[in-house]
């Protein structure tokens, strides 16, 4: 669907997106547009701000207390675009061990998982998360390179000081996160007013955009 074909497109009130690559359910409210490509006759989906959506999904999952399974580890790592050998070095484990954790053959220790979650949460505020791991950035460089550094620091402190990972949970209870686009007040962000993804799911920690 080309942008000038939007007239024939319609906004879907509720869209369960199965092409994002998440190992859990994600529903998008009032923001996905469906239309027909006049050249091919194919139905095409338009998703606004894919980068923002991916980062919002990663943040929402890593602040959810349920222990990450192997597929979720791999999803978060790929969503951040970090190679497994780089992440394994950061987590002080062998690439083989990380690979086994992602395959579900081994369970990552709680402390390593928490460390991974801290990194993943922070990394969503950076255009190139792998750079955080490869280059040992100092504090001022991190603040300079981060998108929305004030928001990052505030949410980081809010979320992780009280986090307890839940290793036991009902396996029949499927994780399901819901997102919508909301206009954000310029006082809340480091710049002009803008739209961004907001998590609508009730999770034990504060919702995160």
């Amino acid at each position: 669907m080309k942008q000038h074909d939007r007239a024939s497109a319609r906004v879907v009130p509720q869209y369960e997106i199965d092409t994002l690559g998440t190992p859990f359910k994600v529903t998008l409210w009032d923001c996905v547009t469906l239309g027909i490509d006049p050249a091919t006759g194919e139905e095409k989906i338009n998703v606004p701000d894919v980068v923002g959506l991916i980062n919002a999904v990663v943040r929402t999952r890593v602040i959810h207390p349920r222990k990450l399974n192997g597929d979720e580890f791999r999803f978060v790592r790929n969503a951040l675009g970090v190679k497994s050998n780089v992440l394994a070095k950061f987590l002080d484990m062998s690439p083989e061990h990380l690979s086994r954790c992602e395959a579900g053959a081994k369970v990552m220790s709680t402390i390593s998982e928490k460390f991974f979650r801290l990194f993943a949460f922070l990394a969503t505020f950076f255009p190139d998360p792998e750079e955080l791991l490869i280059e040992a950035l100092d504090g001022s460089a991190i603040e300079r390179k981060a998108k929305k550094p004030n928001e990052m620091s505030k949410k980081f402190t809010e979320q992780f000081l009280s986090m307890k990972i839940q290793p036991a949970f009902d396996v029949n209870e499927e994780l399901h996160f819901e997102f919508t686009r909301e206009s954000v007040d310029s006082e809340e962000v480091d710049g002009p007013s803008e739209d961004e993804w907001k998590n609508e799911t009730k999770v034990p920690f504060a919702a995160c955009g």
């Binding site: 669907m1 080309k2 942008q3 000038h4 199965d18 092409t19 994002l20 690559g21 547009t33 490509d37 091919t40 194919e42 139905e43 095409k44 989906i45 338009n46 998703v47 606004p48 701000d49 894919v50 980068v51 923002g52 991916i54 980062n55 999803f75 790592r77 790929n78 969503a79 675009g81 970090v82 190679k83 255009p127 190139d128 998108k147 803008e194 739209d195 961004e196």
Partner: protein, 112 residues
Amino acid sequence: MLIQPKRVFGIETTWIREYAKTYLPNEAGFSYSAEHLRQIGLNLIAIRNILRRGHVVYADKLDDPGALWIVEGDDNEDNKYRLTLTVISEILGVSLVKAERVQVEENGDEAA
């Protein structure tokens, strides 16, 4: 040492890499056929990685608004893909036309 092809679409490569790294706080979006992605087993995370690290290997202006670009790159799991896109840079509109897996031949003695 392998001879690397000359990357001639430097501006396009920079543009698409920045597009794949940047929050877009407006309604400009990414368009694609969900059915096509399901058929080839790709997802948006992988596409973002291909665009973030890939190279534009072909670019041509369309009669309609925008241009046709072909991007080659890996999905962060060492699988190589080739994406055909229409790009309207003025409105930050990117639409996936086609995605295909690229088979990389092993360059070893046994390949001879």
